[in-house]
């Protein structure tokens, strides 16, 4: 007894009692949480089971908005979540059909105010919901939200502006995410791509004025989205960017020209197969493949001996995609190329596609 001392034992006993009580309380709390979660899940499931067919009926024109309105008003938060989910599952062109139902929800004013809330989570929720509500009257607030200090809020605002199909928002969106880094460029391109053909005109303005107010990062995003949208009218301005001093601009231009598929740009794109940057060379040989550049087979064969693995790989894949003449060139390279890596890569791609007998079969 002495060794521990009465104080320590008393403290240990009191602590044990306290922790036992706390554990019991915690267990009770967990049970309450679990019951509440179950109740919520059941409520949500029942509500959706009841309202989802009504919403589907409205989208297909079998029901009027008046028939759906009472159910939506019964639980506006649940209704908003349901409509957002249905909207996500619709084709972008069908989404405006839901606007009359969104308009019935009594949440718009709250959301506008919420965009200025001090908690970023609230601002984020508001920014993303406003896009679904389809009210063009909120464009000004959403453009203002593009300057939010939290990046995810800015992205949510941009998505909502894109959902509203506001071509005027393209420029503010490009400038709001004018931060160096491939990742931001990707995300901005992803968002603007969702706007579809409405984004083409403002993006063309950007690529036609490369030395203007836009940074290289903005130029990259514009090039990339035009490629993703396969905007034929962008072929000429993008070809002009192939001589740009910044390698990432050349890279994105070459990549987009391949995606657009305008064969008149083949010669210009193929020249980049000798670019000092391996990433640009890689994009160039890929573009040759996509543009069906049989006239550039020699350039592709030369790229099989490139110092970068990815360029060799893309060149071999591009040759294969050209059909018979490309495959013949690959077979010749696999057999006779002086460069060991060119032989290796040619064999690899030919066996991958089953065009060369492989070793042991299953």
């Amino acid at each position: 007894m002495d060794i521990l001392g009465p104080e320590i034992l008393r403290i240990a006993t009191n602590l044990s009692v306290l922790l036992t009580l706390l554990s019991l309380l915690l267990l009770a709390f967990i049970i309450v949480i679990r019951l509440r979660s179950e109740w919520r899940a059941t409520h949500s499931s029942r509500y959706r089971h009841r309202v989802e067919p009504l919403v589907a009926g409205f989208v297909t024109g079998r029901r009027a908005a008046d028939e759906v309105a009472p159910e939506l008003g019964r639980d506006p938060d649940e209704a908003l979540a349901l409509l957002m989910q249905v909207s996500e599952h619709l084709e972008p062109s069908d989404r405006p059909k839901l606007q009359p139902l969104f308009a019935l929800l009594p949440v718009k004013t709250d959301l506008r105010e919420q965009l200025k809330h001090r908690q970023w989570e609230k601002r984020l929720a508001a920014a993303e919901r406003l896009g679904y509500l389809g009210d063009h009257g909120t464009v000004t607030e959403l453009i203002a939200a593009l300057k939010d200090e939290v990046l995810v809020v800015r992205f949510a605002a941009a998505r909502s502006l894109v959902a509203l199909r506001t071509a005027d928002a393209v420029d503010p969106i490009l400038l709001a995410f004018d931060v160096p880094g491939e990742l931001n460029e990707r995300r901005t391109a992803e968002i603007l791509h969702e706007m579809g053909s409405d984004a083409v005109a403002p993006l063309l303005d950007v690529v036609r004025n490369p030395g203007g107010k836009y940074s290289e990062s903005v130029l990259n995003v514009a090039s990339r989205v035009l490629g993703m949208l396969q905007a034929k009218e962008a072929a000429a301005p993008l070809s002009a960017l192939l001589d740009h001093p910044e390698f990432r601009v050349r890279l994105n231009a070459a990549r987009s020209l391949g995606a657009i598929g305008d064969r008149s740009t083949l010669t210009a794109a193929a020249k980049l197969a000798a670019d000092p940057s391996w990433e640009v060379r890689n994009a160039a040989v890929q573009a040759i493949g996509k543009l069906h550049g049989t006239a550039e087979i020699d350039r592709l064969v030369a790229a099989l001996a490139d110092s970068a693995w990815w360029v060799r790989f893309s060149a071999a894949q591009a040759l294969f995609s050209l059909g018979e003449p490309g495959i013949t060139a690959l077979k010749t390279s696999a057999r006779d190329a002086a460069d060991r890596y060119a032989r290796e890569m040619s064999t690899q791609v030919l066996t991958e596609h089953g065009a060369l007998p492989s070793g042991a079969q299953s």
Binding site: L9, L26, L183, S362
Partner: protein
Amino acid sequence: MMTIVYFLLGFILVYFIVLHAIYLLLVLVGSVQIRKYNKGITFAEFDRIARSNLSMPVSIIVPAHNESAIIVNTAENLLRLNYPAHEVIVVDDGSTDRTLDVLIDHFKLRRVEKHGPKRLETEKVKAVFESDEHPNLVVVTKENGRRADAINAAVTMARYPLLLVTDADSVLEPDGLLHMARPFLIDSRIVASAGVVRPSNGLILEDGVIVQRGLPPTMLGLNQEVEYARSFQWSRTGLCRLNSMLCISGALLLVKKNIFEKLGGSWAKAITDDIEFTIRLNKHIFDRKEKNGGKLVFTPDAVCFTEVPESAKLYASQRNRWQRGTFEALFRNWRMILNPRYGMTGLFGMPFFILFEAFAPLVEITAYILAVGLLVAGVVGWTEVVILFFLAYITGIFLSLLAVLLTEMSRLRTASWVDFWKMIAAILTDNLGYHQWRQLAAVVGMFQYFLFRRRDLGARMERIGEGAAGA
């Protein structure tokens, strides 16, 4: 003699108080982090990642040694993941069973000539196979090395900028990869993300897809369920926030390929390559002199299920190996300990890991021995011993309940009330033998590491087999 006993008792008491104070801190930090994470997810965000052509493609790496019973289901599970662009690279690491044959038969593989972009030193690769039915499946067969060697061989073949390293006995939820990859699409500084690992014993799969979640059938399995919940639900989340997550499970690691290669890949001789690699990764990121930069993240809603041992012998063997691997990894990177050059990682993470993870089993077993000794010598009575052990017992229960609370607030909550009460039962019984058994196995491992220089990988897991959990 009594001076030593006094010193030991004092040390154990202080150790116990400090350890649990840190645990409470981790619970607080962890729960704040989880809340912040959940709030940051925007509506339909994962659907957008799944649809986007710009999501970063992922190479999934599965090292497999004698896994013929489960490898087909694992590969099927990974091929069916909901992700816009991913490839699965299975490495048959010199298996002596039918691992390669079952893969060839099931996926109708054919041999190809294949060389990757970069070559890491590995044991000899014997052949590479691909499937016409699954163009994103690659199977590599090589001479036997350790798990790390197989991972390195797969990296050689990997084409994509992100690598997901998993185990042959692991099963991912269909959206698991979307959740793991999301941080990389948000923040370019992130170099690696870790996810939650849970026991797969109790899962029901059909064609590699999880159709029903359940808990392990045995009490030992259930206790590991609780242990994993504690470890992943708040401990790692909190440690990650404190730049001190020094162990990312090898069952679920997503890492940028260029960083993996820059670090020279996994250390092929490691007993536990995941711990060793994580420590080196931390060293690389948090080195204030080199200023490499980067961030590690813990993704609390990316879940991977992995088979846990349900026999006491295999369980002891696994813990023995983990303990030896922990010491090996720590000593290999000992320069980080208390070194301000590595910031919080050096000043808190490494000392915490060595004192409260690596040496915790030794301290605990010493406490038991001391208690018995003092009881036998008549220095203390039963009442004192019972009070102190009850305090340790109830503290453990309280911390485990906190893990259950966080679990219940997430989508990982137990599927039914029966499972919930099973979890509670496991919490109540964990400290009545199971916990002591794993601590004893760890102490044995520690002595074998130091005294007998044991560096092997121990006994192999016996797989449950196809169709059932873990398969």
